[in-house]
């Protein structure tokens, strides 16, 4: 089994890749996927801490994992609402390119 640091690093790496995707990509749907990736990466951190923050009885601290459930649920809801908005946008503008969403600025 790898060490906590290794898990955290992988988690951070995934988080950073997700961030990179958000920054680089222009397709809103892909950006949204990248955001989901970031959330999952954060989940990995939580689970890793949960595993290594053992309680008095030596078992993992399940509070962390419970939090992961909440996050997954929230993420799912977010995806649902987000995709609905994106669809509405596409219907109105026929685009999912962020470059074209600059009617408001300054």
């Amino acid at each position: 089994m790898a060490s906590l640091q290794e898990y955290l690093f992988i988690s951070g790496l995934l988080f950073a890749i997700g961030l990179a995707g958000v920054l680089i990509r222009r397709n809103i749907i892909v950006i949204f996927m990248c955001l989901e990736l970031m959330l999952s990466a954060a989940n990995l951190t939580l689970v890793a801490f949960s595993r290594f923050n053992t309680g008095e009885n030596g078992l993992p601290d399940y509070n962390g994992q419970v939090l992961v459930f909440f996050i997954i649920t929230v993420a799912a809801a977010e995806v649902a609402v987000g995709l609905a908005i994106i669809v509405a946008l596409y219907r109105a503008r026929q685009t999912v390119d962020v470059k074209e969403l600059t009617s408001m600025r300054g």
């Binding site: 920054l23 680089i24 222009r26 809103i28 962020v98 470059k99 969403l101 600059t102 009617s103 600025r105």
Partner: protein, 612 residues
Amino acid sequence: MPEFFSWSILLLPLCSAAVIQLLLREMAGIAVRMSVGSAATTFVIALVMLGSEDRTLAVQWATAGSFHIEIGLIIDDLSRGMMIVVTGVGLLVHLFSLAYMKEDEARARYFAGLSIFMFSMTGIVLASNFIMMFIFWELVGFSSYLLIGHWFQKNSAAEAAKKAFLVNRIGDFGFMIGILMLWGILGTFAFREMSESTTVIAQNSSTLTGIAVLLVFCGALGKSAQVPLHVWLPDAMEGPTPVSALIHAATMVAAGVYMLFRLQLSAGIEIFEGFAGTTIAWIGGITSLLAALMATQQDDIKRVLAYSTLSQLGYMVMAVGLAGEHSAEAGMFHLYTHAWFKALLFLGSGAVIYACHHEQNIWKMGGLFQRMRKTTVTFAVGTAALMAIYPLSGFWSKEQILEAAHHDQPVLFWLAIIVATLTPFYMTRLFIVAFLGKGRGHGAQAAKEVPPLMLYPLFALSCMAVIAGFTPVAETLSPAFHHPSHSFSLANPVFLISLAALLVGIGSGILVYRGRDADPLEGNTIFKIFRNKFYFDEVYLVLVRVFQNAVAIVVHFLDDFIIGNLLVGGLVRTASGVGNLFRKLQSGNLQGYAFLFGAGIILIIYLTVFAR
């Protein structure tokens, strides 16, 4: 004498002025009577006061904690005598004006001005402390401004009034500093308390005291029109002639001398010893010389008299500055006699001008003797008094000054003798050109004798010009009179020299000007300088241009440019520039936002975690 009278002599003219200005502007007749009435009343009070005992009255004017500024009346020999001069000449000038200004539309304003002047001058004379004196000092300047500018529609009059005020302000600048410094040294403003503080002077460096006295003298420099602040007085002749007689010959211009004498009397003559007194005396001497020289080449009758006034004032200032045993008294004595005969001369010239339909150039007069004999006689009396011909009043006082000068400062004595030569010279010139010979201008040819209302004051004044110098009269009326210790015999070298100077002056005057139609000295280079008043005005004009207007323009530019544009404008531009930068970042592009988010995150993490 009840206090009420003492105060009323001060307040009566003020009430008169206020009432005229506020209520009687449209009713000139009543206004004129009111003003003359108040002048007469104050003259009577001044006469009554002659018999009263010395005293000081005071009320608090401004109070700040333990500090007070008082308005007070100091009644002693000096002020009583001075009041006679002021109210006496004042009354006569009022009367003269009745006729002289009869046709002026703004008569009411004129008489209100005269009343204000009477009030202010009384205030100076009776002032019990320096602050009060300064108050009235400013007020006489103001009334002088009003009266010089009486015919404000004329550019020259308006400019002259402004100039008089401003030059006086410059003098007052020094005056106020001097007052404040003397306050610091003596610890009091009140004249009565100064003598108690003279011991303090001993502790302080005499240099400081000297500087303070010189600064106070600056006030006199302006008011009594001493070089280099004399430039306003000739221009002030733009005012109505009675005003010139009252203010710019007899009383106000003498206020500087009076003030110096008051200071000398209160704080002791010691503070005039040393360089302060010397400087004052020299300035007086130089003024009298320069003015006399300038007077020789003036064509305007009033300007000749004005320069002569300057010259005589120089005499007085010199006498006060000599700080000899009784030299200052001599100066005051001269002030007193000069007031009468110079007022006479001015009113006489006023009568002439009036008769000649406002012609002032003496070369356009001539032959007036035939047409207005009474006036000419009075004018001649005044001329003689000014020339100091025995036994007229001018003789006695001038002789005292020469004595004092001879005693204390021989160099100044010789300077004074030159002036004593020049005075008869230019007065002879004036008299010959204007009154003798034949008429050269229309005005002069059409001239006829002036109405009696003008003549009576002339008579009264010539009377005073004759008798004022005699000891019994002088003892009663003169502000400060000291029996001459010297004799008027040919054995006295001073008398001898001055007599010679007189004769030389008259003689050369007759020689040069008898029967002339134009000034024979006009083309002469040296006399050209005199005619152009030593170019004082021109130099001042340049100075004002350079040091005031140019500086003002530069400062105004800098004010706009540096403070307005660079500093303030710069700040505003910076703010809006930064604001626009922020707005550029707000590109509307989601990627850009995410990018900035990311950058912000990196920055914040760096600052939180690593920048510790």
